[in-house]
Symmetry: C2
Subunit: 358 residues, 2 copies
């Protein structure tokens, strides 16, 4: 018996054979096409998936039949054989965090441009939920993008041995990653603050276990030393508006003339708290964020921030994966760091001597 369905069909009984799919109960298969074109199913497969390996005439006949039947190869059957699902997964910590949007969009665009689908999942809280989610999703995808993951390095490395993995905003030995060139944006920032006469700066740090937080802090330190500016770090803090709001008291106590927050959300929170306490921004205190999320240019005053290229990060991560999966060079160079740049808006201004009034 050649194919699963062919038997029913070659049986000479017409529509009577309710089991046969003469009025197809589902999508057409290569068996349907084979029958219509009068060839063997394997020939159909060849004609459709490896063009040039059948005679032009048969191929034409097969294509015609396929078109007539509105045929689409079942990706699952194909995946079972090839082990490839043409699906990629993107795991983000928090979908509603504006920084994730750009990444999601970039990844989706790059994937669909290559006819891949994108599964997205949220790793809500800590690493345990994330591990479970990954475990669930893994067998159905060809590769994994971990954006701001909370997983310990060891697990990431293990994961990398079992499936192609690309990290965003996190560096782990031996695992490819898309990372920002924080240095450039930071040095632009310190130039900017220096030119405005600031000499005492506070950094509102984010989560203690965040790789990107450590890098931002680190680069700020180095650049501050080089620029001969004082830098104090306040934190760790929750990387949210609420987290930023809660830091005002400490900020006022420390008495800097400018504050750099771990991200825009915290910067926005700090500005809200400042406004309600009568601390003027940038009159009394300059405020800077990281990311340049949606809303950063809508608030009052518009926020000066170091922009991260979320869309590009998502695209590159996908391209990276695709290169490994298909062995093809992609146009967007997936190597090198992603540039960051200072976006100067109105939350930074000349330093107020002595810092904000307490």
């Amino acid at each position: 018996m050649s194919g699963p369905v062919a038997a029913d069909k070659s049986a000479s009984e017409p529509p009577v054979t309710a089991a046969g799919r003469l009025s197809p109960p589902g999508p057409a298969t290569i068996y349907d096409i084979a029958q219509l074109a009068g060839v063997n199913p394997s020939t159909v497969s060849r004609a459709l998936s490896t063009p040039g390996r059948t005679s032009a005439a048969t191929e034409a006949r097969i294509r015609a039949a396929a078109a007539q039947l509105n045929f689409r190869a079942n990706p699952i059957a194909r995946a079972l054989h090839s082990g490839r699902t043409r699906t990629l997964a993107l795991i983000v910590a928090d979908i509603t965090n504006p920084v994730a949007f750009g990444i999601v969009r970039g990844a989706e665009q790059a994937a669909s441009a290559r006819d891949y689908s994108l599964v997205i999942a949220e790793s809500q809280e800590s690493g345990e939920a994330e591990a479970g989610t990954i475990h669930r999703i893994l067998p159905g995808v060809d590769g994994l993008i971990l954006a701001t993951t909370r997983l310990p390095s060891q697990r990431i490395i293990e994961l990398g041995t079992r499936t192609p993995v690309v990290l965003i905003n996190r560096a782990v030995e031996g695992v490819p990653a898309v990372l920002p060139d924080i240095e450039r944006g930071v040095s632009q920032l310190l130039d900017h603050l220096g030119a405005l006469g600031h000499s005492s700066i506070a950094f509102l740090s984010g989560p203690a276990d965040s790789w990107i937080n450590a890098r931002r802090s680190e680069h700020l330190m180095v650049a501050a030393v080089r620029a001969e500016l004082e830098l104090v770090e306040i934190g760790p803090n929750s990387p949210t508006i609420t987290g930023g709001r809660a830091t005002l008291r400490q900020v006022l106590a420390a008495g800097p003339t400018a504050v750099v927050a771990f991200n825009d959300l915290m910067a926005i929170g700090l500005m809200q708290a400042a406004a309600s306490e009568g601390v003027r921004v940038p009159g009394d205190l300059s405020v800077v964020g990281f990311d340049d999320i949606f809303a950063s240019d809508l608030i009052t005053p518009p926020l000066t921030t170091i922009r991260a290229q979320g869309v590009s990060a998502g695209q590159r991560a996908v391209d990276h994966l695709l290169e490994r999966l298909e062995g093809v060079e992609m146009e967007r160079a997936p190597t090198g760091l992603l540039e960051t740049a200072l976006v100067i808006r109105e939350s930074t201004g000349p330093a107020r001597p002595g810092g904000a009034p307490r």
Copy 2:
């Protein structure tokens, strides 16, 4: 020959048989477990997927072997047989549009709570791209959620005959949908505006072919008549900040004391334009939006808006699909409309007699 691999294994040659997977090249299969537990592969399948249909002893032995081999049933092989992938697709017009965030999050949460994966795709521009995307994704998913789709009703109906479909913010005869109860929010709004002394209102409409735009306009009309308020419609407009900004001139010409925009983005744009022209909000002009996106409460003044429950919409859409797919009643009632509610903030205030200064 019983199973694809069993033959190699029962051949009495040890590790020599390089073809056999004695040091497994991939994940463990039920054949590996069968061998380890000394039973038939079909028994393994039964023990693992239909508990209670094997003796407790065998089941225990099989489970132990499965655990030892770190076995996970291959979802693709399972899908090939069952036709079910445990994957749902969510198509949104624009991922970076803040209204989509809530929907995506809600859908992802509801799906993963039921061990389903969520594929998301963006339908960028017009319906043609969307149709192509759906075509690509369809064979790999069990159901489809179309959020603010641009597809013509006819295609949606066709789609619905081939696969379970749930719409968000769009009603099509015979296709289940998650829709907002616009009436409630709108009547609250008109009460609010009436109480503030407004009698002349403008509605800044969105895209002409948007179902939700038509409903918002319609309900506003009805409520305005009932409340004996004048209502003029200005549009259609692009549902963006830029689109909103561009309407200021027409608004001033029409001379209303309050403006209701199709969405928050447009309301924000209008307020920006107003600010730069010296028109005070709400002093000279009250402004209201729809959706309550992230940023609406961060801008100055914070925007009064009619909140749409994006997260709930996403959850309900998934629950709806799941009910049809699994025949199980979900806890979140997927019937009935989703409540909208007026969120009063500071962009609305007492009417200025005669409207904004021109």
